[in-house]
């Protein structure tokens, strides 16, 4: 007796070990798949181009990287476990039941087709209800986000009652959809259990008669019923597996779609880059070596040649036959109204936007044949819409550097040059102040100057400032430009601005209009030509003259 008891306990312990082990293996496999896929997805995302990001909002990508991935993981982890489990339990139980009484088994299984059918119906209803709810959560969050971000306007225009009513409506809809899901989900388990219970009832009814008629022993009936109870959990789980399968497959389709998106911008020879016009011979041995080493970048001379560059997007010509040539160490300035193609033009030099082959040459090399790392390693870029990470000021500035462990002195020099010195001194933790969502909020002008310092940190051979001081007042801009002058010496630079004062010293000025170069030349030449640039200059100069005249009057009056 004692040995039997020990044997049972031993069996149970071994079962526990094996069960733990198998669950750990299967669930971790699911997590490994998730990890791997997320890793690959993110790496892939770093290779996808600006065009892709224009088509896919951040929210959509986030949902693929989180919700969809998690659905795929569930399919491979708990899903797989339950599918195998359910199958094994069903198969072994039905075999045992048939062994005990084939006749009774037939009756006992009567409810199951109904169960599977209703399971499908309910799962679909649940899927719809949960999708609607997810949708509503998104809308409600957006509403709250807007209320908080626009709190100043709400207060100014006393919109509180109105915004609150709108939120109440969203919240009410959320409540209704939640309850709809509760109804769908809440009725699934009782329904399944009820149908399963009917099975027990049938066994009792039919089996009882068989026992009385002597065709089945009481023990047999008890055992039969006990086995049938075993089926109830996998049956309830079946509905869950069905919905998990549905969601997993849908998630996988969306994940795969992302993985299979071919980057339009990539290194020569990498699959997906337009095959046409890639002349491999164009990349010399030096440039090839740059692919892994950072030291080799000096081999490429920072001169820029743009030859007949045209870019068409959505059937609209963003750039139309733009050409210019900029010698190493020179400065090009670009002016023009909003939408004239300035940003697209400067974006195309480090290939942040797709460009046709043989249109842009850096140091004589077609940029589409240069390794992206080499090309972008040459360029320091400060965009108009400055993007900061939720990190310290120092980390944000050092982000541009080739080496991650940039010393503080270099960071501070870059910050000083970008006119950030005084601002940073006023921050609570100086250079270690965290900015962004987790920290303090910087003004538009401060963000732009951090982005400028970041570009300077890259110690670039080519510096591109895309209207990157637009939110800084004229006084500060002039101050920064004066400080940049020694830094710009020896570097090739491109400057986009609306302010004549900022661009007039450039060795060449382009005036862009509707994707074309409308005027070009030096400040003096353009003034002599008397075109758009000259008009702009005179307009801005008017203020200056008036000021000087007034100042002179004031000075004479004080003197007198």
């Amino acid at each position: 007796m004692a040995r039997t008891a020990l044997f049972i306990v031993g069996c149970a312990l071994v079962q526990a070990l094996i069960r733990t082990w198998s669950r750990v293996l299967i669930f971790n496999a699911g997590r490994n798949i998730e990890y791997r896929l997320r890793h690959d997805l993110f790496s892939h995302l770093t290779r996808l181009d600006a065009g892709f990001y224009r088509r896919h909002p951040t929210g959509d990508l986030m949902s693929r990287l989180t919700n969809d991935l998690s659905a795929v993981r569930m399919l491979f982890g708990p899903g797989l476990l339950n599918i195998v489990n359910t199958f094994l339990v069903y198969a072994s139980t039905v075999w045992l039941l048939l062994h005990l009484s084939p006749h009774l088994t037939l009756f006992a299984l009567i409810p199951y087709p109904v169960l599977i059918l209703s399971g499908r119906i309910f799962t679909r209803a649940m899927y719809r209800a949960s999708r609607d709810l997810q949708d509503q959560i998104g809308q409600m969050s957006t509403a709250v986000q807007e209320d908080l971000a626009g709190i100043a306007v709400i207060k100014q225009y006393a919109l509180e009652p109105q915004r609150h009513a709108a939120f109440a409506e969203q919240s009410q809809r959320y409540l209704q959809r939640s309850l709809k899901l509760v109804r769908a989900r809440g009725s699934l388990t009782p329904l399944f259990a009820l149908i399963g219970g009917v099975g027990t009832l049938i066994v009792l009814w039919i089996g009882g008669r068989e026992v009385i008629q002597g065709r089945l022993s009481v023990g047999g009936l008890v055992a039969f019923n006990a086995y049938l109870v075993y089926l109830s959990w996998p049956t309830v789980a079946l509905g869950w597996i069905l919905s998990m399968w549905q969601r997993g497959v849908a998630g996988w389709v969306r994940v795969r779609e992302l993985l299979e998106t071919v980057p339009e911008i990539g290194d020569a020879g990498v699959a997906g880059v337009r095959a046409s016009g890639i002349a491999h011979g164009e990349v010399d041995a030096d440039a090839n070596a740059d692919a892994d080493g950072k030291t080799g970048r000096t081999a490429i001379e920072p001169s820029i040649d743009v030859r007949g560059l045209s870019i068409v997007r959505d059937g609209r010509a963003i750039l139309d036959q733009v050409s210019f040539s900029l010698a190493a160490g020179d400065t090009l300035a670009i002016v023009g109204r909003t939408g004239s193609g300035k940003t697209t033009l400067v974006d195309s030099i480090p290939r942040l936007t797709e460009v046709p082959a043989r249109t842009i040459f850096v140091g004589g090399h077609d940029v589409t044949t240069l390794p992206l790392r080499t090309l972008r390693g040459l360029v320091g870029y400060a965009p108009q819409e400055a993007f900061l990470f939720s990190a310290t000021i120092a980390e944000n500035i050092a982000f541009g550097a080739a080496r991650p462990d940039l010393d503080r002195a270099t960071i501070e020099r870059a910050a000083q040059a970008a006119g950030l010195g005084r601002d940073i001194a006023a921050f609570p933790d100086g250079y270690d102040t965290v900015v962004g969502e987790r920290g303090i909020t910087l003004s538009g002008g401060q963000r732009q100057r951090v982005a400028l310092a970041r570009a300077l940190c890259a110690d670039p051979h080519i510096l591109i400032l895309d209207d990157s001081l637009s939110s800084v007042d004229a006084e500060t801009e002039g101050d920064i430009l004066a400080r940049l002058r020694p830094i710009l010496a020896g570097r090739t630079s491109i400057l986009v601005s609306h302010r004549v004062a900022a661009v007039k010293d450039a060795s060449q000025i382009l005036v862009m209009d509707a994707g074309r170069v409308a005027e070009r030349g030096t400040h003096g030449q353009l003034l002599a030509a008397g075109g758009v640039y000259a008009a702009l200059y005179h307009e801005q100069l008017a203020a200056e003259k008036a000021a000087r005249a007034a100042a002179e009057v004031a000075a004479t009056e004080t003197a007198a």
Partner: protein, 620 residues
């Protein structure tokens, strides 16, 4: 993700529960019904094995068919009763929970909207969003699968004990031998699983934040060729998340398996012991069957106990944060007498508004009287600023960055409260005016224009239904925003995406002008944008500014020469004090701060190449 968001609280905190209960109270009848349904469902559930026992012992084993039909029907009734009651209970609980949480959410939203500007200055939006959405949702989980179902489990376990001890107390004692072991195991694992889940939450928050940020900033990553570094960082975060999960998987799998093993041993023991007693004739088959069913029903709730405990802890932690926000007593523009109590939106205050004081008849339209203010104690931004503004005047405010100009204009519509001194509108202290009425008369147009997602038209009217389409278009035409409308094929119905990202900075500025013009305020306050825009938009904005100020008392933080020229008076601020005041010519003649600022601002960086620098320029 502030650090405080990951802290788990006590599973049951009486103070918090009492506060939550305030929101549940309106639905007390439904909740009572749900609680009543709990034991009913349990009774029906517990009856089933008993009916099975009766059927086997009294009928099947004895060969008596009569009465078996009746037992079968009773069994069916018990099934329907159990699932009917448990569905009703679950639905009612959720209904109460969802409604209560809806009320809480609305209360929270209203409370947040009524908080002072200073609160929003130091609180990240993400944190407030978490309070209103995720935290309330976590609290709701308490209703969905926490409190009431925990109560249900306790009732069910109790009912099972009553049933088995009632049927055969000796066998019951024997079967319950495993119960202490189970509770001990559950208690040990509870902590392990809880810690693991807390870590998962933290790691997942980090992962999501990283992804969100780097997807938004992918262009920067690519422009600086930092893909590899960022990928390495992400790999670390992704790995950490996997490791946290592996820990939870280990603990969870072990807990599940051990409880299953204990259950197997307990049932085997029961079969072994019961079998021996059946052979000895001291036990019937029916009792054994009933005991097996009861024991199986006993293990489920114990296995779920740790999960439910975690849910309760998370709910309590969320409740603490939610009520913490509700307790923030920092009301926007409170009435003067009862400053610390929060004011409901749009509450009219103060009878003094109607009482016209004859002495105020000749008072200036708007007056600052020795106003001092700062954002942080001990660091004043404005000191003793006094300024009377008469009807029809245009005041240009100038000053270097940090001189206090932006702060000054925020005080006028009472977005902040002065430390000392007073602001009076037509002789009445603004603190005695209803804030929404005050803000109807004084409108601030700021540099950073916020557009709501919706349509262009809605952003101009801000939901005022009294404005006709013609009026909107007329207002837009006056300030030059008609160009913005004409540029979009849908016109006024053109969609505005989140934060107005599909409109340029200049366009947003023009829309804000039209918005202010529609409100037609008595006093206009304008913070001219310093951002440079293309010349065409610049001209539109200049004209719009002029239109907006026409025939209106205005105060402008001026950056444009044309705007300054139009001012009747100029106020030069220096380090929070009024340094100079007078007309453009007067101030230039004085050659002080204004003259220097004026030269610097209006000429940009011009002085570096335009011959000898004007006097004073170098000092800047």
């Amino acid at each position: 993700m502030s650090g405080g968001d990951d802290v788990l609280g006590k599973a049951l905190d009486r103070t918090l529960l009492r506060r939550i209960f305030v929101y549940v109270w309106p639905y007390k009848l439904w909740l009572a019904l749900a609680v009543v349904l709990l034991p009913i469902a349990s009774v029906f559930e517990i009856a089933q094995p008993y009916l099975l026992k009766r059927a086997i012992d009294d009928h099947i084993a004895r060969g008596r068919l009569a009465g078996l039909d009746r037992l079968g029907l009773l069994y069916l009734l018990a099934l329907v009763g159990q699932y009917g009651a448990s569905f009703g209970q679950a639905y009612l609980t959720q209904l109460v929970g969802q409604r209560a949480m809806n009320d809480l959410r609305l209360r929270l939203h209203r409370h947040v909207l009524a908080l002072a500007s200073s609160f929003f200055d130091r609180t990240p939006i993400g944190r407030l969003m978490t309070r209103i959405t995720s935290d309330v949702e976590a609290l709701n989980e308490m209703f969905a699968s926490g409190l009431v179902s925990l109560l249900g489990d306790v009732i069910r376990l109790g009912a099972i004990l009553v049933a088995i001890f009632g049927i055969d107390w000796k066998l019951a004692l024997f079967s319950m031998g495993s119960a202490p072991v189970l509770f001990a195991i559950a208690a040990i694992f509870r902590r392990l699983v809880r810690d693991a889940f807390r870590e998962i939450r933290t790691k997942m928050a980090r992962l999501n934040a990283f992804l969100q940020e780097h997807i938004s900033g992918m262009k920067v990553v690519q422009a600086f060729a930092q893909e590899e570094r960022v990928e390495a960082q992400f790999d670390q975060i992704n790995r950490d998340y996997r490791r946290a999960n592996a820990r939870a998987i280990g603990a969870d799998s072990a807990l599940y398996s051990i409880i299953e093993a204990v259950a197997s041993i307990a049932i085997a023991g029961l079969l072994w012991h019961g079998g021996a007693r059946i052979a000895g004739g001291t036990l019937t088959f029916g009792v054994l069957v009933a005991f097996i069913e009861y024991l199986t029903k006993f293990f489920g709730p114990i296995r779920d106990l740790s999960a439910k405990y975690t849910i309760m802890q998370q709910a309590m932690a969320a409740a603490e944060r939610v009520f913490g926000l509700l307790d923030t007593a920092e009301p926007d523009a409170p009435p003067r007498a009862a400053a610390p109590t929060p004011v409901g939106v749009g509450v009219a205050v103060g009878g003094s508004v109607d009482v016209a004081d004859p002495s105020t008849a000749r008072a200036p339209l708007l007056a600052l009287d020795r106003v001092s203010f700062g954002y942080r104690p001990g660091r004043p931004v404005l000191e003793e600023v006094s300024l009377p503004i008469h009807t029809g005047e245009t005041i240009a405010v100038v000053g270097a960055t940090g001189s206090g100009k932006s702060t000054l204009i925020k005080l006028l519509p009472r977005l902040y409260e002065p430390w000392s001194g007073a602001i009076r509108l037509a002789g009445i202290d603004v603190r005695d005016l209803d804030p929404s009425a005050l803000r109807r008369r004084i409108v601030v147009v700021s540099q950073d224009v916020f557009l709501f997602a919706g349509t262009l038209g809605d952003n101009i009217t801000l939901g005022d239904p009294r404005l006709s389409r013609e009026e909107i278009l007329a207002a837009a035409r006056r300030v030059g925003a008609d160009r913005v409308i004409a540029r979009r094929p849908e016109g006024l119905d053109a969609p505005v995406v989140e934060r107005g990202a599909n409109f340029s900075a200049g366009e947003r500025q023009l829309i804000a002008f039209a918005r202010a013009l529609c409100r037609d305020p008595e006093i206009l306050i304008l913070d001219e944008a310093t951002a440079s825009v293309d010349p065409e938009t610049e001209r539109l904005i200049e004209r719009g500014t002029e239109e907006l100020m026409r025939g209106r008392t205005s105060i402008v933080i001026a950056h444009r020469l044309s705007t300054i020229r139009r001012a009747t008076r100029i106020l030069a601020l220096h380090r929070g004090r009024v340094a100079e005041e007078g007309s453009h010519e007067e101030l230039l003649a004085r050659d002080g701060i204004y003259a220097r600022l004026y030269r610097l601002q209006m000429m940009g960086g011009a002085e570096t190449t335009a011959g000898p620098a004007p006097p004073g320029a170098a000092a800047g």
